[in-house]
């Protein structure tokens, strides 16, 4: 009986493995491409197994980001810009959202619902649809090519505010009573009770927001003209150019693999929080 059941599941395993392979396939190719010399790739002779140039290709990409034909910024520079962007956006979004949710839930004050709906309205204005007017405002403020201009317009978050609000509404009244009876003011209550019990929500949001920040493309593209401000995602698209056969694919592929490592590692390492964050924030 047991064997019968296992056999019955063979097609399921087959389809799942097929799915895993299809999803991994493009990354495997990039991985192979990053280990060959440019000549082999340009002649269209790249085999399906890794070559012997991995170390030199990755070092070259990391240190210079350039080859014979590609002129990029060092991947090390671009990755640290991306890391900064991702951390600033995730930490910024979480900080300003947790305090605004705290204000909306634990206080009564004139304009409360108006402010809440204002935050809600921002959900309907993704950065893409207001890209040109936002760019003009940031330019008027003199923030083009600055880290402020790069991060500030992206750190408002309706979804994070909603998630924290839902979470705070579920905190039992008795807990708040007890804290107040012990003489805790709102700030003490926030720091000693709200913040510690919000840990998992914060971790969940962090994964989502980190990936969001790392993967930003259009905004950095408009906002940064100087090469040492380039993020890795936009820098890579610059390196590709028109995608000629003769370009330095080995460097581009090494940089591509490096670019997708940090967000992928964060998602896999924090899988539990990632799933929680995704299914709870966006619903």
């Amino acid at each position: 009986m047991k064997h019968f059941r296992q056999l019955k599941h063979l097609p399921t395993h087959f389809y799942l493995i097929l799915g895993v392979i299809v999803l991994a396939f493009p990354v495997y190719f990039a991985l192979v491409g990053s280990t060959w010399d440019p000549g082999t790739i340009a002649r269209g002779e790249m085999p399906l197994i890794p070559g012997r140039h991995a170390v030199e290709n990755y070092l070259q990409a990391w240190r210079t980001g350039s080859g014979e034909r590609v002129m990029g910024a060092p991947v090390a520079t671009m990755m640290s810009n991306s890391l900064f962007l991702a951390l600033a956006i995730s930490v910024g979004k979480i900080s300003i959202s947790i305090i605004s949710a705290f204000a909306v839930v634990f206080f009564r004050f004139p304009g409360r619902m108006l402010f809440f709906w204002t935050i809600f309205a921002s959900l309907m204005l993704p950065v893409e649809v207001r890209i040109i007017p936002t760019f003009r405002i940031v330019a008027d403020l003199g923030l083009v090519n600055t880290y402020w201009g790069l991060t500030l317009p992206l750190i408002a978050s309706a979804t994070a505010t909603f998630l924290f609000r839902q979470f705070f509404l579920a905190i039992p009244d008795e807990m708040v009573e007890a804290a107040k009876m012990d003489g805790a003011g709102p700030l003490r209550f926030f720091l000693d009770i709200v913040l510690p019990i919000s840990r998992t929500s914060i971790a969940a949001l962090f994964v989502i927001m980190f990936v969001y920040g790392w993967n930003q493309f259009l905004w950095p593209l408009l906002m940064t003209t100087s090469r040492d401000m380039n993020t890795i995602v936009m820098g890579l698209v610059h390196m590709i150019g028109t995608g000629e056969a003769q370009t330095d694919w080995h460097i581009i592929m090494a940089a591509t693999i490096l670019a997708l490592l940090p967000p992928t590692v964060v998602v896999i390492a924090m899988q539990k929080w990632f799933v929680k964050g995704l299914t709870e924030t966006e619903k």
């Binding site: 967000p263 992928t264 966006e282």
Partner: protein, 293 residues
């Protein structure tokens, strides 16, 4: 929903809300209003005089054959991406929901593409489908297909659809899996006892029960295809060849950033805002209904 026990403080809540509200006012509401204002103004070619023209920009945009062509491209593109990534995601979720060994390992191996940026997804698929160096591109030419996404519009459209869908499968997989796991097993057991086949059980019980998730994903995928795929298109085709992969979003970018046509690009932004507004409103209406039954 309201709390019974609250803190009394006059100034503190405003201080706590200030950073978020300041950013939303300066970088969200203000630019959106600017876009609406600009969409009703027209500048002369030298940028010396501006004139109020009411809906002329909208009329110009909506009657331009290029805009209508990119509207058609957008519809084809977003429907294809939504359908492809949702079908594959649902299929994999149904498989991973079964009581099999290693279900968690499969889950881990299927969700990581979520972390890949759309632009990088474009680069990965470019490397595979490149007509002269890509593995699949070369094989296609060997078997006699004149594959070249830089020359043929339909090849280019196919490639951006593949690259955009690939990345989105994980997202759909995850939501479908969560929905499938919340379907009561007792219902399925009862149907099995009544002799319903597994296909029948899926379409008559499971599929209707997960329809709120399906609808939610439909909206989210449409929004993804409309806006987030900018990177895919920019990295792969730049809207070409001859506008074959120019979506509404890409066109708004070209008109505003490359062609510097403020009036018409603002009108396009306003149209895009209306689309997001419509999709969000639809989604919330549906979620409300779901909650109240």
């Amino acid at each position: 929903m309201e709390r019974r026990v609250i803190f009394n403080n006059k100034a503190l809540p405003y201080v706590l809300l200030a950073p978020q509200l300041a950013i939303i006012l300066v970088f969200f509401i203000w630019p959106a209003l600017q876009a609406v204002k600009q969409s009703m103004l027209m500048q002369d070619p030298f940028g010396l005089r501006t004139q109020f023209v009411m809906f002329d920009n909208f009329i110009a945009v909506l009657s331009s054959p290029h805009y209508l062509a990119s509207l058609r491209t957008t519809i084809v593109f977003s429907l294809a991406v939504t359908l492809a990534s949702m079908c594959v995601g649902l299929f994999l979720a149904v498989m991973a929901d079964k009581q099999i060994r290693g279900a968690n390992i499969y889950k881990g191996l299927l969700l990581w593409p979520y972390a890949v940026a759309p632009a990088i997804s474009g680069i990965l698929w470019l490397f595979i489908f490149h007509p002269s160096i890509g593995f699949v591109g070369l094989r296609l030419r060997e078997i006699g297909i004149a594959w070249d996404y830089k020359l043929h519009g339909n090849h280019a459209l196919f490639l951006v659809i593949v690259a955009a869908s690939w990345k989105q499968v994980s997202y759909n997989f995850l939501f479908f899996l969560a929905a499938l796991q919340s379907v009561p097993k007792s219902l399925l057991d009862a149907a099995a006892i009544d002799g319903a086949s597994s296909t029948r059980r899926f379409w008559s019980i499971v599929f209707p029960l997960i329809s709120p998730t399906t609808f939610f994903l439909l909206m989210m995928n449409m929004i993804y295809a409309l806006f987030d795929t900018f990177g895919v298109i920019h990295a792969l085709t730049g809207g070409g060849p001859s506008k074959a992969t120019e979506t509404l979003m890409y066109r708004a970018y070209l008109d505003g950033v490359v062609n510097l046509n403020l009036g018409t690009s603002s009108a396009q932004s306003v149209i895009l805002m209306l689309i997001v507004f419509l999709l969000t409103a639809l989604q919330f209406r549906f979620v409300e209904r779901k909650v109240h039954y």
